[in-house]
Amino acid sequence: MMALAFAAMTLALGALLAGRRRLAAAALALGFVLAIGLFLWEIWSPETGFRMPWLQVRSGAAEAA
């Protein structure tokens, strides 16, 4: 997947330099969508989902109560 995302970005830049703007835009859009998909897949955990349970914030007042 990561290789595919970089392939899309390489194609986008290559097509842009070659003046093939429609192809460049399509490849760029594909790279953008793949990047978002990869990001969500990377940060998702079977145990915690998208939460970040290692970040705990509790005010002193709430703790005292």
Binding site: L16, L28, A35, F39
Partner: protein, 187 residues
Amino acid sequence: MRGLPLLTYLFNAASLAAIAAILTAAMGFQYLRGEIPCPLCLLERLALFGAGFGLIANLRGPYSTRFTGVTLGFALLLLVIAARQTLLDIYPRPGHAYVGQAVLGLHMPVWSVLIALALIAATAAKLTALGGDAHMQGARPSDAPSLDRVARALAAYLFVLCVVNFGSVVVQCGLGQCHTTGYALLP
């Protein structure tokens, strides 16, 4: 070419040079210091290439605020990824800690947050100071030949960086998941 069009082209060329320098530094850390990039680090590089795409498109003309939107979109993607990665490793625990060497006391994901913020802030400042693309109607990059040559060289250099990164990703990840423990296709 002079006035606002020249300032706009200069801004785009300077931004592109900054992105190329950042990506060169990242690859220097990878190949010279042996720091294998994590998956989120690779996605941050991808976002920088996307931001560079918008700048190159405008430098090659015809100028369009749409491409400024492309740059901002990828800068926002970079900010989201970098912020999440910063939060992921902000509390050291088994299997999670900032990887790589700190530069000026800051690790790579924190730098990525600052880079994304700088790119967004600079673009906002440019749009505020220079306006949209009305003053760019009829402006051609070839009207400033020196700047045009620099912009073309920068664009070609960013493309080469992207090709090298693509090859590097294939060697590191193969067609599967990326790991920071080694290159999948190397013995």
